[in-house]
Symmetry: C2
Subunit: 442 residues, 2 copies
């Protein structure tokens, strides 16, 4: 968690603000997603905890300052800039959606209000932290909806974008509704249930399949899950049936899962193992899970890997971090960007949630005007955390409840009519005023 | 870099191997990619350095052992298992492709030969390390080919799958041919050039665009890049032209880049700024870069972000880590998996590269039989690193040279006739023998 983990331009701008004596200016940035990816009817906000950890520990180490001094871009730094950078801490405010909150396009997931250098510097880290976990939590919510109550476990660490991403994917997937993860570090760091028994190599490491199954059964007892498709799936199922209890069940990882699961179910039932479960893996995603259930495959739980840990069909979000307010020597002003294809709305905002729509209003508008529930909360004020982190199972419960409270159509895997996000009259008026008076000079 | 950053089943299997007194068995696993993603004609191997660092530092800390003891799966661990795990280090061998080597489907990127628990345990971390960087280096190579000599800079940290992934994306993109990255930590850790000047918020933080451009020019002199599209692109260009030197050039980040770049070029030229360059960003990828160049857009360099740092069109690879050999009390055997859709070839392999094809042979086959260049090299032997890491700019040069030596058709952005990878007669024979004698019991 190095303060250098940021785009270089955040640092050149920092030097520029320092040189222009603007370090006392207070900037407000909003982090939001421009558009929902195809087929997503909502996103689930996640990543806040890691964002807070980062802000509270932000500082440049001596060797990092030394590195910056060595760069061509800082050949002629403003006098005193590196001393300033050495002393820099995050002293500002963070407002954010509680993790697990459903969120829509152009709604702030987080708002940073801080002296301009601090607020600017944290852009890169905050974006990649919030956006990755939000993406995975959202994908997990879809898989869980597809499972119709059957447990979904996150198995994607090996395909995650680096080992560190795997750990965070496990966390975000749990918030989105998964029952747990295969990632053991995620289990330890975040207190999430961990799952896993054995791979094909286990079966292959013994002289025959039976020896490998017996060894597993000795080790795990009633947690044993026999992976039956290493050589011949139905033979594997017959072997599992012959060994009998103790056993949790079997895992299928290849082939025609509908046909195989029906035959395997019959083999297990015929052996009196009605309680033994069938767990399915094998390049699954929410659509495959829904399809398997629709086809009547007697599957009891699913492991979803690659598609979940990488949000495979939407591996990035159009997330931005935009300056919306600025307070300098001349007073407080609203800011926005008006280029054709990338405009933004000015002003720090609050989201008010009603049963079937949201209203986006200025944060400074009076709460009393709105009956909806205000969603963004103060998390860090003046560099100090306001409350301790929520227990992650509470966060997961909150997400499930919030998803359950959305209009029914949004819980479809297919793209539904978008959830309406209205703009308050006052916010609209300010945006219009600003657009009118905007020029090259503001 | 915690040893717990692994799938739980690696640890349950470890306990099982320990209980079955198989910790002396030596397993050989191969890490490879089953299929090239659509439109990829080759991959560029990357991630080796981080894999080696991990192997050399593999160990379980006390609190990690404590966590494992607390898990239901280890309610009844084999006696002595946790002492064994506490002492565990990587004592095996790693063979791998030098970073920057072009690699094709089913060719090993890395081979691990080690006592079975060590070899098994490192699966998850090695897969996510090699695969993510290989994916990004490969995407970078495509962007660089599209640029036809114009510099491509990696700008995707904010959209990477976690902040840690952003740092590694910068590294991998450089190996694949990018000129540098915006990620400052990647610059420091890996000695890669870093780039960046200012964002839209910079322009908006000053009272007018001119004030913001002047402040940038004061700070960066001839490195100044004016971002001219915050309000009105052509007005921005005229302002830049009026300010004149010192300047590197301007950046376009929205709108019709072909039309705008032509008009901006004219404005700069008319002001005598023929040397000033035009840098383009704005949701680029290799296809957009090629298209812009084909359309005659006078663009001098490109920043590629999201699509590069996430390998947007192929955000995962079908990478596997498969047991190919096993040496136990009964001797040395070859292993393979024969399920319908996920078969593997037995035996540790070497890749021999010829001008227009590769031959995949057993590692144990005599080198003299093959005139091609053997590509896999011993990197770690008996837990000790053989040679110091290559300087990263040498790795980048090697990648560029190796890509240049591939058959012309593979350097197209479109899918070409696949590069032939032949299987040696001996390897084929062993695979056939094994398939014949395979059963449920091996």
């Amino acid at each position: 968690m190095s303060a250098l983990n940021t785009d270089l331009y955040e640092l050149t701008m920092a030097a520029g603000y320092f040189a222009a004596q603007k370090t006392g200016d207070v900037a407000t940035f909003e982090l939001s997603v421009r558009r929902l990816p195809p087929a997503r009817n909502f996103l689930i906000a996640a990543g806040l905890e890691q964002a807070v950890e980062y802000l509270l520990h932000l500082r440049f180490e001596k060797d990092e300052i030394g590195y910056l001094r060595s760069l061509a871009q800082f050949k002629n730094p403003p006098a005193g800039f590196f001393d300033y950078l050495t002393e820099l801490r995050f002293t500002g405010d963070l407002f954010a959606l509680p993790e697990g909150t459903p969120v829509f396009a152009n709604e702030p997931i987080a708002i940073v209000r801080a002296p301009i250098v601090e607020a600017q510097l944290v852009e890169t880290y905050l974006l990649s932290t919030f956006v990755f976990q939000t993406m995975v939590a959202s994908k997990a919510a879809r898989c869980v909806l597809a499972g119709e109550g059957r447990p979904i476990v996150e198995f994607g660490s090996r395909r995650a974008h680096s080992p560190a991403a795997g750990v965070l994917a496990g966390r975000a997937a749990f918030i989105g509704g998964c029952s747990g993860t295969s990632n053991t570090e995620a289990g330890m760091r975040f207190g999430i249930p961990v799952f896993g028994t054995a791979a094909h190599s286990w079966t292959m490491a013994f002289r025959d399949e039976e020896e490998s199954f017996r060894a597993l059964q000795n080790l795990l007892g009633e947690s044993s899950v026999f992976l039956i498709d290493t050589y011949d799936t139905l033979e594997g199922a017959r072997l599992a049936a012959r060994l009998g209890k103790p056993v949790w069940g079997v895992r299928l990882d290849s082939g025609d899962l509908v046909e195989l699961s029906k035959q395997v179910r019959r083999i297990l039932d015929d052996a009196g193992l009605q309680d033994a479960k069938i767990f399915a893996t094998s390049d699954l995603n929410e659509y495959r899970v829904a399809e398997l259930i629709r086809a009547g495959a007697p599957l009891d739980a699913f492991g979803v890997g690659t598609q979940l840990a990488t949000s495979g069909d939407a591996p990035s979000l159009s997330a931005v971090y935009k300056l919306v307010e600025l307070k300098d020597g001349g007073g407080q002003i609203f800011t926005a960007k008006f280029s054709d294809d990338k405009s933004t709305l000015p002003g720090a905002k609050q989201i008010y949630r009603y049963a079937d729509h949201d209203i986006l209003a200025l944060y400074s508008e009076c709460n009393d005007e709105f009956q909806g529930e205000p969603l963004l909360r103060p998390i860090v004020i003046g560099g100090q955390r306001l409350e301790q982190p929520h227990a992650i199972d509470k966060t997961k419960e909150y997400a499930a409840k919030s998803i359950g409270a959305l209009p029914e159509r949004l819980r479809s895997l297919e793209e539904a009519e978008p959830y309406p996000v209205e703009i308050s009259p006052r916010l609209l008026a300010i945006a219009e005023d600003l657009r009118r008076e905007f020029q090259p000079a503001r």
